[in-house]
Subunit: 104 residues, 2 copies
Amino acid sequence: MFHADLIVGKWKPIILFHLLHNDKLRFSELQRAIPEISKKMLTTQLRELEYHDIVHRKVYAEVPPKVEYSITEYGKKLIPVLEVMRTWGLEHLQHLDELYGTKN
Amino acid sequence: MFHADLIVGKWKPIILFHLLHNDKLRFSELQRAIPEISKKMLTTQLRELEYHDIVHRKVYAEVPPKVEYSITEYGKKLIPVLEVMRTWGLEHLQHLDELYGTKN
DNA sequence: CTGTATCCGCTGTGATACTG
DNA sequence: CAGTATCACAGCGGATACAG
């Protein structure tokens, strides 16, 4: 209904977060920035984001290969959405902590 | 990171959407409002939303049973998040249509 | 370096039947 | 009416090896 899956999911917000703060990132840089993600998942998520015109994939015809990912102009429209989600996420954590006293 | 899972996922935004527009809804009313969802999933999602203090579950000690679900005060803080997501969702649909001409 | 291919276990989800 | 219990299965996603 809201098609939220296009930007949420386990990894997409994190990937977008890094891309928003770095302008361009290579595949390996994303891997290092998000160590918990597997190569396969990173590829899958990036392909989906690319398909939906949210990130751009620039391949350099070099050896060894070099690929840079960046947010598209259209993808930048997501910034407010991600901001609102992040803000809410922080407040929500605090609220949950007040309720249960858990820190995680 | 953003803990988006707490309100996104396959059904939660839809459930919240209905609760935001109806104030109170019984279990069966939610079932009818969202025919595609199974009883089990509806229960699961509602329990999670309840656990996170986003919806309130009011049980009437009657026979037959009657249960009403409503948004908590805290849950109302989600409205802007859901609004932003919905707005973006609509724009995104349009954008995808421009790209691929698909209507779905 | 940037992936793809394969195997494979685990979890999420549906269908169905049952209960207070 | 408002669920729970149980079974069953597909697909997500991890690990590993391989490829251009």
